[in-house]
Symmetry: C2
Subunit: 420 residues, 2 copies
């Protein structure tokens, strides 16, 4: 079994459940207890990384290569060079909501395929290449499919991505256009994911890296870059509150982990009052938020519904860890129904110029609820994560918005319409 | 009449036709000859700008503020901070086309509203704010509308944008979602443009900056940043050949002007053999290319057809200047029909991971033709400009691409489908 080389600060894989350790290979579950594996680092190596090194690096996630498990060698990366996306000051939105402590949108729709998935795919496929894989694959609710297909196209490597058959056209076309194989599965995302877990064990897929299955531990680490960037963009400071959408729950846990790491290795000072993590789900798929609201550790799988398809994971793998992050930091979780999601998309666009996909509508709607219910402190600095692009889910608001006037091309017609 | 302040290196407006000069105000046509006005600079001020200053600037167009007519004061900008978009090495595409001198895609779909228009809008509206305008407007084929509406939303300023009624949904929704006024005109872009030229003269629109009408000279300068960035990203070097899509023709002339300026003010060395400028249009709207092919200076206005709507300007204002640039540099122009445009989009996506809108398909298809006909030298370094995002025109390829497999979620079904 091939393992990652020594340039990486990663030391091994460790089971999140029982703590068993494994080499840095393509393995995602513990042989002892079937718990999920995570990358563990040589902390002394991480401590060598300085702000100056990072700031002198490229304007993308690879400025943090010293904190990632793969991609240290620029020439060996499989990447579209995502990251260093805008942290947008949202003063108009803050004013509407009564947030006085400062509000920011971390806008990851600015990535090459317009979602945060480019981050995780770049790290996963750079690891996959180092591990000797010859084909790239994933199970996806859409954004991941776009990203894997585009990465594979740029690298000239075959790809095969698996999606639910009923995805938005904006996510089907933007995957298929790159020319790899696109497999539409007649089932939910959870069905797709289960099939991929079976395929990865077959001989025919032995040469295939499923970014969120067999190389998942490396994949998940890519999300940490969102936390690193926010801290750096705030002037090496961790915000008091963050609001993060949840599908598998992994993104939330990794942003929290990124903040912890930054403090542990001395790149930022520990905030006196710590930080608080809030999670956002849609009402059509809210197993993690429901567990929190019901004060239980048991996450009941759901059959997802609703327009926020990119968040529609009914059996969220990292749900327990997301619960742990939110509880430990004194945060909360909310969920928003389709009408609230549509309103959230429009509110965010109207006040910030950021047009988010449905997931961003979820997060904005949940921000509104968290303020209204007093769970989120309006006097504290808050960063909201927009993970995707409105263009991919335009149907969500196509009936809500449109031309405000329709006129013939003459001054007379413009006058009659009330424009003059 | 308000004029721009002294922080700007711009000195005055000058008529491109007769050379008459005017103050830096909201004026776009010469009072003497009705020729188009352009910004002229204090060359000595431009010569003060150094590579080091630029490289130490922000990761967006404002690193070139010292070379632009507006936006020197960060706090007074109206901007989404576009620019410094990826210059993507396209080795796989080069190999398919037999280009040996190096091929790059300047991918401006990475801008905040995913087209190069964010550049020109940021410069135009920063000038407009300095000039005292209270409302932002434009005539648009879609991308400009998206950008003006988003800029206005971020700034909290009212907007009113005018578009042809038959635009792609991806461009209607992405404008309307920002909450400003959106006026659908029952006519072509040229009709829309004419109406805006009339509206701008009315009392009701006295407080309104139409980015591509009354503040057009400032607007047009924003396109220069594409040329600056390419040179900087190549290590302060001008590429031997550039291939640029044409609507009004202005983008092409401004990239050429940017290269000239960089040489004139000493930021780059003049290439021994100069540079060659190539223009790309769609067959459904090719007035500039036809004039070149017919060896005439007379550009015959057309009624545009075809899928490349963002390029559908039948009466291109800067056409004569685009002809001049291409002739002076020994270049050529090509045009591509709808089938070639669709193939161009797919070719670019498959070989580079860049999913372009129809305009990018036009440019890629014209690149293919320029190589085949020998007009473009495959042994020389070439930069191709992708100005927009495939997500905005997904209908263009929606029937060409799709799932390659459709299967039930089981290993058995995957086997039967030939995946195993």
């Amino acid at each position: 079994m091939t393992v990652l080389g020594t340039a990486s600060p990663a030391r091994n894989l460790v089971c999140r459940a029982c703590g068993a350790t494994y080499p840095l290979a393509a393995q995602h579950a513990c042989f002892e207890c079937f718990g999920p594996l995570e990358v563990a680092y040589d902390i002394e190596a991480l401590k060598q990384v300085t702000r100056e090194q990072i700031e002198a690096g490229p304007n993308n996630i690879w400025r943090y290569a010293g904190l990632l498990p793969a991609g240290q060698d620029e020439a060996a990366r499989v990447t579209l060079n995502p990251g260093l996306t805008p942290l947008v000051r949202a003063d108009l939105l803050a004013a509407e909501l009564g947030i006085t402590g400062g509000l920011w949108i971390k806008d990851d729709s600015a990535n090459p395929t317009h979602s945060f998935k480019d981050r995780v795919v770049s790290v996963a496929l750079s690891a996959a290449k180092a591990l000797g894989f010859q084909r790239y694959a994933c199970a996806s609710t859409g954004n991941l499919a776009n990203s894997v297909a585009a990465h594979a196209a740029r690298a000239g490597v075959p790809s095969v991505v698996f999606v639910p058959h009923d995805l938005e056209p904006g996510k089907i076309v933007t995957t298929a256009v790159y020319g790899g194989d696109l497999v539409a599965i007649e089932g939910s995302y959870d069905d797709v994911n289960r099939l991929c877990s079976e395929l990865v064990e077959t001989d025919e897929f032995e040469d295939t890296a499923f970014v969120n299955v067999n190389v998942r531990p490396f994949y998940a680490e890519g999300s940490k870059t969102l936390g690193y960037e926010v801290a750096e963009q705030l002037g090496w400071r961790i915000p008091a509150q963050v609001v993060i959408p949840m599908a598998s729950g992994e993104l939330l846990t990794k942003i929290d982990k990124a903040f912890e790491e930054l403090v542990e290795i001395g790149l930022v000072e520990a905030p006196a009052e710590g930080w608080t993590v809030f999670g956002a789900q849609s009402a059509g798929c809210n197993p993690i938020a429901l567990a929190l609201h019901n004060d239980t550790d048991e996450i009941q799988p759901q059959k997802p519904t609703g327009i926020a398809k990119s968040l529609n994971i009914g059996d969220p793998a990292a749900g327990p860890y997301a619960l742990e992050s939110v509880r430990r930091t004194g945060g909360w979780m909310e969920y928003a129904d389709d009408e609230e999601i549509r309103a959230g998309i429009q509110l965010l666009a109207r006040t910030t110029g950021v047009f988010a996909e449905t997931a961003g509508g979820v997060t904005t709607a949940c921000l509104v609820k968290l303020v209204k219910t007093g769970r989120l402190d309006p006097a504290k600095e808050t960063v909201v994560f927009n993970t995707g692009e409105g263009l991919k889910t335009i149907d969500a608001v196509a009936e809500q918005v449109g031309p405000t006037y329709r006129v013939k091309p003459s001054l007379k017609a413009a006058k009659e319409a009330g424009l003059l």
